[in-house]
């Protein structure tokens, strides 16, 4: 018998058998090392159990041993597609804890790199999602072509392509290089053309519609009850975006819309990301036009040897995948007493079984792809 596959008799022998299949942790469509224990009645899924922990890297435990500053590079590796927003959420929590002010220019730089990160994440996600549906190669190549352009910007600014390690408590690490903003303008100006191209290839595509519409439906009530955030929640018709609701940083100054889906299926989750990218481009245009000069870091802020006073703080932002939060408890020491990450990927994954029941395995793959998980963040 093949390991991982077992057959179980149903009580009525005329009704056939239940097949149990273990998908993953090595599976081309599970986005890393994620495992699903699926029980099948014929082709229909009757039970789906997610199995986590194949990438548990002790992030929280390590962070309780190193200094506050030393945790920033580790946050890069949480959701490794969008390191800059992870930095941002962590810095926000520490800033709340120790009461640093963030200069105007630093806020604008944070918004610019944060929205660029959202573009990177959503572009990659759409490529991976369509690849999961069976369009091998081509759409992902289009997506990665655009991703490389933005990664070049990150590299020019921070010195690293993926693990940027750019934000610091009370600001950012270094000022924008000469000519960087012009390069950003070029990339932003060319981006709508890519989106139009991508959209003309995919959104009306018959195969995509057949595979994604009506598949993996997440109801509004369940989404709210399960604590789903980010594009998954908005695709189900709830207009909850922390950039609007919480208005952290300087997002209240920008004019942008929050796209909302109507059906909560895979197609809506796909479209929401396309529309969000167009809104991100709007924010980027406004932020670049209004970028002030001045300091990039609070002169009173201390990075090395930081010992915040005893207390606790929760910093949260609207990361590309949902609400990313860091909860810190300080006892006045050089490292936090408790360091907790609220990962959007993990919490969005909890409803996977409800979305997949009754569907086929191929639909489960499409649903998993549309949730947008990164295992570094799920398992930490």
């Amino acid at each position: 018998m093949i390991p991982g596959v077992s057959i179980e008799e149903k009580t009525d022998p005329l009704q056939g058998q239940i097949l149990e299949v273990s998908m993953g942790p090595h599976h081309p469509s599970t986005h890393g090392v994620f495992r699903m224990d699926v029980k099948l009645d014929g082709e229909r899924i009757v039970s789906l159990k997610p199995v986590f922990g194949y990438l548990h890297r002790n992030h929280e435990k390590i962070a309780e041993d190193v200094s506050y500053l030393g945790s920033i590079p580790y946050t890069d590796r949480l959701d490794y597609l969008c390191s800059l927003t992870n930095n941002w959420a962590y810095c926000l929590a520490v800033e709340k804890l120790s009461g640093f002010e963030i200069p105007e220019r630093a806020e604008y730089i944070r918004v610019i790199v944060g929205e660029l990160t959202r573009l990177v994440n959503h572009t990659c996600l759409m490529g991976f999602f369509v690849q999961d549906l069976g369009a091998m190669g081509t759409p992902l190549m289009y997506a990665f072509r655009e991703r490389e352009k933005i990664l070049d910007l990150f590299e020019g600014l921070t010195g690293a392509r993926m693990m940027c390690n750019y934000m610091r408590f009370g600001g950012v690490r270094c000022d924008l290089p000469v000519g960087w903003i012009d390069e950003v303008k070029k990339v932003i100006a060319a981006f709508p053309r890519f989106l139009d191209e991508f959209e003309s290839l995919l959104t009306q595509n018959e195969i995509l519609i057949a595979r994604a519409q009506g598949v993996g439906v997440l109801s509004k009530e369940l989404a709210i009850n399960a604590g789903i955030t980010g594009p998954c929640l908005r695709a189900s018709g709830v207009g909850h975006d922390l950039r609007k609701v919480d208005a952290y940083s300087i997002y209240s100054r920008f004019d942008f819309k929050v796209p909302i889906g109507a059906h909560g299926d895979c197609y809506d989750r796909f479209m929401i990301r396309l529309l969000e990218m167009r809104e991100s481009l709007k924010i980027l245009d406004q932020a670049i036009a209004a970028l002030p000069s001045g300091q990039i870091i609070d002169p009173k802020a201390k990075s090395r040897g930081l010992r915040p006073k005893a207390g606790e703080a929760y910093g949260r932002i609207e990361a590309p995948k949902g609400e990313l939060g860091f909860y810190l408890i300080s006892e006045g020491g050089p490292s936090p007493y408790r360091y907790r990450v609220r990962p959007p990927s993990l919490i969005n994954l909890t409803v996977l079984e409800d979305m997949c029941l009754g569907g086929t395995v191929a639909d489960a793959i499409a649903t998993l792809g549309s949730i947008d998980i990164v295992l570094g963040e799920v398992d930490r």
Partner: protein, 208 residues
Amino acid sequence: MTEADEKTIQDLRRSGILLTTLEDLYNWGRSNSVWPLQFGLACCAIEMIAASMSRFDIARFGSEVFRPSPRQADLMIVSGTVTKKMAPQVVRLYNQMPEPKYVIAMGACAISGGPFKQGYNVLKGIDRYIPVDVHIPGCPPRPEALLNGLMELQEKIREQNLTGENRPHHLRSDVSGEFPVPEFGACDLEPPSNPAVWTPPEPIREGL
């Protein structure tokens, strides 16, 4: 090969005749069609995917055919952190690959545990269980670094002999390509390393 022979070969090549040995021809073909296993563990996997995309284009080196099944793959790129829960699966996948097979340890985590080395759940280097041919440092290594590692591997394949003492283990009957799969024991992986492929480094004590 002597110098005169080299000259003859060059003369013949100019007139359209190629002289080579079977070994060179075989290794040339093998080194230019190394099929990797489509197998991503963590952050480095994204850079591995980036290397296979249009900008870096790993297809120039004949390795664009990422196979989802280990039965069809020649090369395992261990791209990312190997945790203790994942290590048995990695070794099992390696055992399932047909000979000749090669391993690239991509990134600091696969080499030594990297930034997560102090963690309780992270394997401190995949070379404790399977033989690694090329190590690529970096966190994560750039796609160019992966391409360089692949070229190093191709160099290694071209230098392998088909006969004699130095022949690779897939041509030897006395060496097995299967490696024991570790199991998750009471508090750690058992065995903690495979002594056939890895021995703990001797501590260097200066001034003694």
